[in-house]
């Protein structure tokens, strides 16, 4: 049977309908021969373009595990909820999954706004959130397993590489006006100064705004020789287009980005990004048999032979396996058991080895830099040999031998006053 997105969605909708009945009798659900997990991604609304792919990757991992015999000898049953691109809805759905369905592990959220909205629910009700997105750090919850990159895993390789290998020293930092780009800019400035570069400007545009004429003209007259972009969402597309339309070229003034992924490249048209750079732990173009197979399986699963894979999607996929390994190690699906067992779990993900660090429940990932090509794919031109330790507080001076976020919680005395 071929599963395309449509039949797949009707399937999940049907599964959800069927689940509604046992949910009234939660005790009965435990007696059933399945292990229940939850997922919340936006299947509708503006963010659905990206979050649907995360939802698909999560379901794909679950169905693969089920096909291989499930976990603890039981099949995994996934209760999929729609966050509808609205943080408040995410919050309500998280409460529903934890209180009504009595689920302890939930794979959810793409934006920081939605994560912050569900965090109180997971902390108060003691649930465990698996969060697949690269994010700004500055968080140390014992109820979240972070499997996306934190700033040091995207920037600690990128900035020195730009300065030393590309030979560019004057940075123009540009971003969307909210917490992620601002925190990324903070880390970038630190690294730029440490490596002997300088930054000429640090500018922001409203989230979702797409009038880039003034900004690009400022970039032109600023005298910078490289642009560091933390621009998010559909603004990215308008930015790259305006950049080229104003006659700038990535050959002389490259955009080096932290958010521009395969999805944005496909949306803008590859020719606008060709020659620019992005730093991510995962790219679709990673040339290993494991990844080639992963991309093929994903395309088959969603029924679209042109579907692209990207970093948050890969994390959405492998974090289900990390959860499975933790459950098998603990022999139990409770929050305490999974939390204790997930630290130290290692998995051979499509993009290489990943390890959940027991201290801060963030994931060690391998930083990579890619240059975008005419076909919309990245060509990996720099990669670490080993995964990089995640430092969520790197902007405030955290280092691997001086952790702020440890197994015993956040050491607030180390934070600047």
């Amino acid at each position: 049977m071929t599963i395309n997105r449509r039949t797949f969605l009707t399937g999940t909708a049907g599964a959800f309908g069927a689940l509604a009945a046992p949910a009234i009798l939660p005790r009965a659900a435990f007696a059933a021969d399945t292990v229940k997990v939850g997922s919340i991604f936006s299947l509708t609304g503006g963010l659905s373009i990206i979050e649907r792919s995360l939802n698909d990757a999560t379901h794909m991992a679950v169905s693969e595990i089920n096909a291989a015999g499930g976990v603890l000898g039981k099949q995994i049953e996934i209760v999929a909820e729609d966050g509808a691109s609205d943080p408040k809805t995410f919050n309500e759905k998280a409460s529903k999954l934890i209180l009504q369905d009595r689920i302890s592990s939930v794979f959810a959220c793409y934006t920081s706004a939605s994560r912050k909205a569900v965090l109180p629910v997971f902390e108060r009700r003691n649930g465990l959130l698996f969060y697949p997105t690269y994010y700004e750090g500055f968080e140390c919850s014992k109820n979240v397993v972070y499997t996306g990159a934190v700033p040091n895993q995207q920037l600690s390789n990128f900035i020195p590489w730009i300065i030393n290998t590309l030979g560019k020293k004057k940075f123009f930092i540009v971003g969307s006006n909210y917490i992620y780009p601002r925190e990324m800019a903070k880390v970038s400035k630190m690294l730029i100064e440490q490596n002997g570069g300088e930054w000429v400007a640090d500018e922001y545009l409203e989230l979702g705004h797409s009038e880039w004429a003034s900004m690009v003209s400022k970039i032109k007259s600023s005298g910078c020789d490289v642009v560091l972009s933390n621009v998010v969402g559909d603004s990215v597309v308008a930015f790259y287009r305006e950049f080229k339309n104003q006659g700038l070229s990535h050959d002389t003034l490259p955009i080096c980005a932290t958010v521009t992924s395969e999805i944005e490249i496909a949306a803008m048209g590859a020719e606008y990004a060709a020659g620019s750079y992005t730093s991510f732990p995962y790219f679709q173009a990673i040339d290993t048999p494991a990844n080639t197979e992963f991309v093929a399986r994903y395309r088959k699963f969603v029924g679209d032979e042109k579907a692209v894979t990207h970093h948050a999607l890969e994390s959405s996929y492998f974090q289900v396996y990390l959860w499975k390994q933790a459950v098998e190690k603990a022999g139990d699906t409770s929050t305490e058991a999974v939390r204790a067992a997930v630290g130290g779990q290692t998995f051979d993900a499509p993009g290489g080895k990943v390890t959940v660090e027991a201290e801060n429940l963030h994931t060690a990932l391998t930083p990579r830099i890619a240059q975008w090509q005419d076909d919309g794919q990245g060509k990996i031109i720099d990669a670490y040999d080993e995964p990089e330790f995640p430092l969520p507080y790197v902007a405030y001076g955290e280092a691997q031998d001086n952790l702020y976020c440890t197994a015993s919680g956040l050491d607030t005395s180390k934070l600047p006053k």
Partner: protein, 297 residues
């Protein structure tokens, strides 16, 4: 300095492009058309579909998009808006409903998605339009490097404004439209077919939005929600310029564009956005009917 003025001009022309159709439907007819942004979106999708399925480029898509959105506008006027004249709030709600219907129609490939059929170019995903080589790149005007595509947008906006002015002030149908604007009952008494003229006016306004959509598709992502933020800017321009005044719309688009460009160059885009809103609020407090409004009876 020259480049700042050009940016202001360019921002203003983008504003005017969207506001022009609104100046007709809202300004002239008094219909608060919440589906105006969706007309822009339909224009953009027409461009995407024309290039995928017919191999027609951006320029060729302009008349097609005009026809498609004008037809949709005509249907909306005949089926919905014409039954609601004089009921301002009802029109607002009804056209908002139409806006949601149009967005979903695009998301669901006109409903074919229910049967498992997908049309390339429609659906929930992001689409893009290739800008032809002769419109990308830069030209040099007065020693300043100017984006060719933006210069092209300014040109198209000027042409459309002139065309609209000509139709409104130099043709018989334009005189009828203006007569209906002033006093529909008296116009009807003079033998003007108010229903027909209203439908055509609405169709023309929608068609202009469709052309705006074609131009937008060249530098923005095309997706089902793209029209919503644009219609906000459109209303700002029309309200500031004065309802019912074409000249007012043109001048207020120019004014807001220049304020945006100037503020953005001395501080940044976020402040510029706030300044725009402050200016609009001040103007509306000072002149509640806008900068240039005619005195009706």
């Amino acid at each position: 300095m020259l480049d700042t003025i050009f940016i202001g001009l360019s921002v203003g022309s983008v504003l005017l492009l969207v506001a022009l159709g609104l100046a007709i439907t809202y300004g002239a007819m008094g219909v608060i058309n919440m589906a105006h942004g969706e007309m822009v979106m339909l224009g953009a999708y027409t461009t995407v579909l024309a290039s995928i399925h017919l191999g027609i480029g951006l320029l060729g898509a302009i008349p097609i998009a005009f026809m498609v959105t004008a037809l949709v506008g005509y249907a909306i006027e005949r089926l919905i808006v014409s039954r609601l004249y004089g009921r301002l709030l009802d029109t607002l709600l009804a056209t908002w409903g139409v806006a949601i219907l149009l967005q979903q129609a695009v998301r669901l490939s006109l409903g074919l998605a229910f049967f498992g059929i997908t049309i390339a170019g429609l659906g929930t995903g992001l689409q893009n339009v290739r800008v032809p080589a002769y419109l990308s790149g830069v030209i040099s005007i007065g020693g300043e490097q100017v984006s060719l595509y933006r210069a092209f947008i300014i040109l198209v906006t000027i042409l459309l404004t002139l065309l609209t002015w000509f139709i409104m002030y130099r043709t018989a149908i334009g005189a009828q439209v203006r007569a209906i604007m002033r006093n529909p009952d008296m116009a009807a008494a003079c033998g003007i077919d108010v229903k027909r003229v209203n439908a055509l006016t609405f169709a023309y306004g929608s068609g202009l939005a469709g052309v705006a959509g074609v131009m937008m598709s060249g530098f923005k992502t095309v997706f089902p929600d793209m029209g919503t933020p644009m219609v906000v800017d459109g209303f700002l321009v029309v309200v500031t310029g004065g309802v019912g005044s074409l000249m007012g719309t043109v001048l207020s688009a120019g004014l807001l564009g220049q304020i945006n460009g100037l503020t953005a160059s001395v501080s940044n885009d976020i402040i510029a956005r706030a300044v725009i809103f402050a200016v609009v609020v001040t103007i509306i407090i000072w002149k509640p009917s806008g900068l240039f409004s005619y005195k009706g009876r």
